[in-house]
């Protein structure tokens, strides 16, 4: 396995990776970190991602910090995080500022409506793509799908506040999983 030569190399690798990630960075992260740079094996990548997903916060941001931390400790975590966010933040805020000026043009509004519909579709597709992960749930598939469906109904249709739904369904899910994993 290779390792980053310096904090700067780490920062630049994550900048490069982030700038390729339109509509999500995860697929690019795998290709760059595992296949191109060889900083992680496939197994290490999956393992880090599993932990990143369990923790709150953006998965790829957590992942970048964990990888930076592994090579250079806290300084590495900060360098990787900065690489992931700095350049894309400048671009997206530049676009936001531009949109503020353009938003009176109907054509910009129309374009954004089209893009908005596509991104709603992309998020729906992401959720649907990930649903098969429930097959391996220790809860059993019917129970896991039931909980996911209930979460959709409470949040999407009934507009319950997230905190209540997390406490109720998350608590139920964890208690059931704890019991099933005995």
């Amino acid at each position: 396995m290779n390792r980053p030569a310096s904090l700067l190399a780490l920062f630049l690798a994550f900048t490069r990776l982030a700038l390729q990630g339109f509509g999500g960075v995860l697929a690019v992260a795998q290709r760059e970190l595992v296949e191109r740079l060889g900083w992680l094996s496939k197994e290490e990548f999956v393992e880090a991602l599993a932990i990143a997903q369990v923790l709150p916060g953006p998965n790829v941001v957590n992942l970048s910090m964990m990888i930076g931390d592994r090579f250079f400790g806290l300084r590495g975590a900060i360098a990787a995080l900065a690489g992931m966010l700095a350049a894309p933040a400048v671009i997206v805020l530049g676009l936001a500022a531009l949109y503020g000026q353009l938003s009176r043009h109907p054509i910009a509004v129309d374009a954004l409506r089209g893009m908005g519909a596509v991104s709603a579709g992309l998020i729906l597709a992401t959720g649907i793509k990930l649903l098969p992960a429930l097959k391996q749930s220790p809860l059993g598939r019917p129970l896991a799908i039931g909980l996911a469906g209930l979460a959709f109904v409470l949040i999407g249709l009934l507009r319950w506040p997230l905190l209540g739904v997390l406490a109720l369904l998350g608590g139920m899910g964890m208690a059931l999983a704890w019991w099933k994993l005995k």
């Binding site: 957590n62 954004l112 991104s119 709603a120 959720g127 749930s137 999407g156």
Partner: protein, 180 residues
């Protein structure tokens, strides 16, 4: 009724959402909508959705939609406040918990946490897509076009390996041409 914008409540709102954002900040979008649009009226429905669409269209982690929301509420200071809020608690927790979790992967509590939260995370992701589609579907003139576009996106994403950026750009083009 629009409440006056204050950076401290903006920061605190995202701070409280940070530790709830299991599966990514996108799962807390419905809560951000409740706060920024329904309760404070700092953003309109379409400004809210446009902010997220803009961040999705740009390169980088999707979390940057939080910066755009903050920016549209209160400029660069708003972007900084919202990003600091959403990232501080989760990054600190990630750094402290990572080594422990890595060492205790097989621990029953760790596995119960992951197994118990996964269904909820998936339900939330789908609810988010649903909520983001609502403002477009409410407008009679655009309903059919939007529905078709969403359905096409779903099929292309699930069935092909087409780069997502082309889909977002195509959506923008179709919109600009007045087709959706």
């Amino acid at each position: 009724m629009t409440a006056p914008v204050d950076l401290a409540s903006l920061f605190l709102h995202f701070l409280t959402l940070s530790l709830l954002s299991i599966g990514g900040a996108i799962t807390t979008v419905p809560e951000m909508h409740r706060f920024l649009v329904d309760r404070m009226a700092w953003l309109s429905d379409s400004e809210f959705t446009a902010s997220i669409a803009l961040a999705q269209a740009a390169p980088g982690p999707n979390i940057l939609f939080v910066a755009v929301l903050g920016y549209n509420v209160a400029g660069l200071a708003g972007a900084a406040a919202s990003m600091a809020g959403i990232l501080l608690p989760s990054t600190v927790l990630t750094l402290t918990a990572t080594r422990w979790a890595r060492a205790n992967r097989e621990h029953r509590a760790v596995r119960a946490f992951a197994a118990g939260m996964t269904p909820l995370t998936l339900g939330l992701i789908i609810a988010t897509g649903w909520l983001l589609a609502q403002p477009f579907l409410k407008v009679e003139a655009h309903r059919m076009g939007t529905l078709l576009l969403i359905a096409t996106t779903l099929v292309l994403t699930l069935k092909t390996r087409l780069n997502l950026v082309w889909m977002v750009l195509a959506g923008g083009l179709l919109g600009a041409l007045g087709l959706v």
